[in-house]
Symmetry: D2
Subunit: 469 residues, 4 copies
């Protein structure tokens, strides 16, 4: 995923930029950086986040940054923000992007004698592609339109110039970009929760494809928003911070409703309801309240030293962290029937381990409730982590096991009313060693979010969302 | 506070020692260290935890440590563990201690030509005093008895020798020390929650004053436990990790009962129940369940970059962190009557700020419920942080304001049935700008914990606990 | 200045690359970096050298580098080596370059929709310009020819591809590039002294404008050397390492002859001969031997902590370092007539301070002898440090003082037989507080070097060297 | 070896302390530290010097130090300075010491219930022993006398108190301690060369056993110097910095005379004279001048990144550094007869490697001249590095080879006029592959130094120096 933050003030912006970007740390785990436009030059600093976190790594560099315009990025992939010079002048770019046709774009550009920097394997990074497409047009506005037209996947980005910054939301609004203001300036962010403690008040969400130019003197829409929207539903289900709103809909409230939807008509009985930290907690709280069962914390994350952002990149280390950071509480588990909520099941390995641990600690039964339907269509639009690669999705493994052929009858497995889905859920339930397993129905999920289905990308679950190119 | 962890194995103990000590990170914020006894020498590493946390700081040094016996410390005060040589041979010490007569002990020792290391201001650190008192006796056992006799305050400590380690709980058991075992060894810890993910199973809590010698071959009680116990009640209320048990009583379960006790007979009505993260959450969950109101998260801590252990030492930085790390969720606050739980009120400044923020975000009412009685007797036994200095306790400020004299009628203010306490609570409620405020009654707290009152130190609330010297 | 080093081996090249580049540390003070071509990707690491030096900074990153082809750079300016992707494929560039028409080149390229990375002030770095000019042509060879044709100033560079590396010496050979070989591979370096301890034997100097492609299988000249050469004479006088040879002429031997030339016909008498460390020592040794006077060390550099590469970038820090790193030896100074050698006089401030210190330590007389003529034409070809800016040259200040007009009669001041130069030398001698001052004559310098004048750039002294574009 | 530096000023002393201690970096390679006495507390910082050097490591900590009294240490062994508290109050100690009876001292102290800190292997560090012996007496003066009496080996040390500092030279003056002053204070140092650039002027050397108390108001001798002196001759031969004076005798001048003594009567002929950097250069310069041969630099140390202080502790790394940091210059070696000077031969391995390299580079002959006699009695007084362990001295190996028994006829091998020594020198010459080898005669060395023999410790060469306990 990843997150971006921008500030334009009449005074120095570095403090706001630093804390605002830090508030996006849950969106990425690989690189974090800041760039600032000062009197006559840009300055920037970028760090790896793999062994320490954004605030620790960047804080020592703050004195080297100075200026009233700034952009920041938390990235799951490439080093950002990057600085460029072209006939458009000097500019810096930060992006949240998943580009599926980068090879094609690269090939065309290099054929026209363009060259790209910094690609260790020759695969050009999204931020460079954005710079290339911008530089190929007469104005930034034309360049942004060209990006919407030519780049496949999704691309929300910020372009900092010496005079202000362009905030550009993805053509179909797959990822959010939100405007805020305070007395002497403006901010733009992937998460509205980043505004609050910095004194920015929410203005509005940018529309799909909208581009706004923000200068110290004001905000101006340079490219009007489009009609069609395909916002990623997963932001509410998993990625977003509880205090954030997207399209006016609060993340924690959506999760509460997700839990409530699951509780309604769920005839399982239990002693307590818990959530897998942190992803299942919002859902569990809603489930418990709706069901009239006590919400409790049978598993607690050891937050003092395992903050969420420390998800290491290799699988072995990830498994160790997954085990070490959760501490079960036997006093709340032993002899109990427990309903557990989580946001989704990707590969299912950690959930299987958690289930086994719960039984080891004496749970009588473990009923898992998942806030969204089974994932069976790999995302083609955003840059999710590699663990969501097609072959690793437990839903696809179930289909392969049940059908003997990859992806056979996939539409029926996507249909909650079809017996095939029921068989798949039963297969997964068995694999994970659960007492019972239920997934949210897609209609219920959409109801819980509160936007019309046509504005949401639900591709992971029903394979839709392609028609919009 | 602080925490200590020890391991004795037949094989290398460094991994267990590292993760075990890391799991005590919530107990201290200043120094962290490990010491290991290898074939012919001790090795150790100690780091400041103020700008980064234990795991990041210590991990690069692990390759320098090797051995089958080890001790670790997370400290709110001095660098630990320290290594010593005396007629008893080589040994290392880690401690959780608050020594109130250190000047007297230092004076007597230096008069006998002893000298101490490392005290920048001439004030000798507890670990050095322990070494001095041990070295003044013929055997470690005599030394430990001498410490129980001569040292005022509290002192739980580990002594690593080349052959094993002495685990010594404070004379009155004010702080815990818990034994665990696995196939090839033993561990001892301030928190039982540190055992679970490392494969240690709980054996038993050491008794007050008990000293156990642990070698690779077994555990042996060298000094039998005493009869009298004055365990710090605050460990359940605030310090302890939810998954830990002390004296067989689970921390989260105690907090749940604290919340439930508060809910019972509380006739306030509200839309939701929330807890101040992280200290109030366990209590809030119990309150909500007992009251039949939905538990929700109107304030969320930004854990990705503000883990609990990063409490800076200076007041200004602490206020900034307090503000930045909590993100209110307007969607759950606006127009709502909210019951909020917290563990205790020390100075009340952060609670006042939180209350103001909740009203700023549109709360209709903020009803604060506190899991313990008002703090009016400063702790004289443990090493709490300086913010608990006598003059800063809001309870004492209330008494001064109401009586015009410091501490006048303090016994009546300690009595929940006395009108004086009611007046104090009203005064505090007004100062903090709350809609309503209730504190737990001491009897209810003791019931929630589940130990007989005479085994608990309740000094903070009723001034008892002195008679035991 | 700056230095570059490249290796192509049949086996892993990282150790050789690391030490080889480290041996160029005297050539630059700002950035150092390495890039390696591994099985399927490039990897690289670049560090600031301002607070620590190359070896310390880079050593921890070595495990992240792997491959049999590598290039390294020590730079006085920009971060290097950089990686690029274009229609030519993936490549990395390291350069020693001073480009005087970069604005023009940038303007033309951006007009053709090219864009550049990483320029904080919009000024494009030489390495990016090289990448741009290469990418604009069909082959690397065409690109290299284009660079020779279009880039003004000087440019010696290495281009690493997945298959080998192009070693390209500046069109007029202003800076050196030298080939070496060992059993399983080749190296190319700015200094031949970098080869010796790594087991490479000298093959030959590249000719001016020559481009050699080096693969694990052999070296092949792709662009033949040109006829015209204008090698920078200063490399022998100051920059080069004593053990290096350029064009077969040893640096230390040239300095010895410089000193000897100065001694011949110098009728001053003295007790001892010394050199300003480190720049004057080679010259002093030759002077002393020729004159039959004892060479001694009246000033010693404190090398344990002030290695040469730690020349800070700001003037105040530079003055402090200049003072702190040299320790005078009163025992060798007091009451002595001393002849001191140095390589050149730029601004003269440090020499003036050194002279005053020598008299403070009791020197009876200080006779300064300079290994080259007065610098009066600022270098327009290489990237010298800013202290060689036109207005700061003491020679130009002398002319302004003597003529009342900037640069008036400059040709006569360049002529050692003209009374004007004698007046200038006398003026400088007075300003610096010296007993006597003599500069080398240009003819003698050329003789000491041992190349025909037309192959040497002597622009700093006589303003020649322009006609070759 | 190691070095210590102290400052007492009326104003803040940190800058002087930092640079003064840094100027002792050539004396040690393991630990460096500073301690300062501020208004109400001591502050200190200590670092490992193995991977970086003093100035880089300590500079970031300077802002944490404040005060007008300070001491610093460069240590080849233990972390220093250390802080202590005893009946004498607070004090800090830095020392240059080699204690040969530390086990006995430790045993006696622990029998009296003393304990020591920080000894990983139970071996108590000199600085702790000093603290123990001081604390056992009524006054600092009595304690210093006790140290002189009870401690075997050598011990020069500084004791910082809140009011000033005690500067205490070893009982027999084996290592130096030198006083300097400036307008507002005093400094005391192992090397006089540390004073000059900081503006201190030389006052005097402390006498053997002398203790001076230095306060901001003045210096006062508290213990008068003794009559007997046994100063280590090696300080002039190898350890001392060229610009330093000990007992008024300049190090570089002594080395010049050493070289001259060797030249006199040496009938070898050669083209050039060179020195092994840095240890042989001072000697070579004197030899060349006396002999009337040109001094040249056939081997140059790569000082930019291999400063002297980076001598790693393990043998393999040391051998790599020894090879990498010296760069031979073929132009000055090939076809030449060369006389090479060095200070001494310890194990001879590096000299053997250097000789082989010189022949590889084409030397016709390599005549090695050593500034002192053969080392055959291991030092028992100072803390030399482990490479000087008895069994590794090439002199002792020669005796074993020639006699078949360890140490047989050692007195005759110590005698330059005995045929046994001639045989030993011939044996060593063969082992090292030299054309010829000559050692200085002890009488000539003593003459070169310029002190009466009875004031110098010449134990390494003649086994004397024991009678003084």
């Amino acid at each position: 995923m990843g997150g971006i933050f921008g500030v334009v003030r009449k005074h120095d912006c570095v403090q706001d930029l630093f804390y605002g970007t830090d508030y996006l740390s849950h969106l990425g785990t690989k690189r974090g950086g800041l760039a600032v436009s000062g009197p006559s030059r840009f300055s920037w600093t970028i760090h790896k986040l793999e062994s320490s976190y954004f605030r620790s790594k960047l804080e020592p560099n703050l004195p080297t940054l100075q200026g009233n315009i700034g952009i920041g990025a938390i990235s799951d992939t490439d080093a950002q923000p990057l600085s460029f010079t072209s006939h458009l002048g000097r500019f810096c770019i930060a992006s949240v992007a998943g580009v599926t046709n980068s090879e094609e774009l690269t090939r065309k550009a290099t054929a026209a004698n363009c060259f790209f920097s910094g690609a260790s394997d020759g695969k050009v990074r999204p931020t460079e592609l954005i710079a290339m497409l911008l530089s190929a047009e007469k104005t930034f506005e034309d360049g942004i339109r060209s990006i919407h037209e030519k780049m496949k996947g999704s691309c929300t980005f910020l372009v900092m110039t010496p005079d202000g910054l362009y905030a550009c939301r993805d053509k179909l609004g797959r990822t959010p970009l939100i405007l805020g203001r305070k007395a002497d300036g403006f901010a733009v962010s992937s998460e509205s929760s980043a505004f609050q403690n910095l004194g920015y008040t929410y203005m509005r969400d940018l529309g799909p494809g909208e581009a706004v130019f923000i200068s110290p003197d004001g905000c101006e829409t340079r490219i009007a928003p489009g009609e069609v929207m395909q916002m990623c539903t997963f932001l509410w289900v998993y990625y977003g911070y509880p205090s954030s709103n997207y399209e006016g809909l609060n993340v924690e409230a959506v999760r509460y409703r997700c839990g409530a939807c699951l509780a309604e008509g769920d005839n399982v009985t239990a002693d307590i309801v818990g959530g897998i930290p942190d992803s299942g907690i919002g859902h569990a709280v809603g489930y418990a309240a709706c069901k009239g069962l006590p919400y409790q914390r049978p598993i607690v994350k050891y937050t003092p030293t395992w903050p969420r952002s420390f998800t290491p990149q290799n699988q072995e280390a990830r498994a160790l962290v997954a085990k070490m950071k959760l501490i079960p509480n036997r006093a709340l588990i032993e002899g109990k029937d427990i309903i557990f909520l989580d946001d989704s099941i990707v590969r299912g390995t950690q959930l299987r381990d958690n289930a086994r641990i719960l039984f080891d600690y004496g749970a009588k039964s473990v009923h898992m409730r998942i806030a969204c339907p089974p994932l069976i269509y790999p995302c083609e639009f955003l840059n999710f982590s590699s663990s969501r690669a097609a072959l690793e999705l437990i839903g696809l493994k179930a289909i392969l096991a049940l059908e003997g052929v990859e992806g056979k009858n996939i539409e029926r497995y996507a249909d909650a009313s079809d017996a095939k889905q029921a068989a798949m859920v039963e297969w997964i339930c068995g694999k994970l060693g659960l007492t019972s397993l239920k997934f949210q129905k897609l209609d219920d999920l959409i109801t819980a979010v509160g936007l019309p289905k046509e504005k949401l990308c639900t591709h992971c679950w029903d394979g839709s969302g392609w028609g919009h190119y």
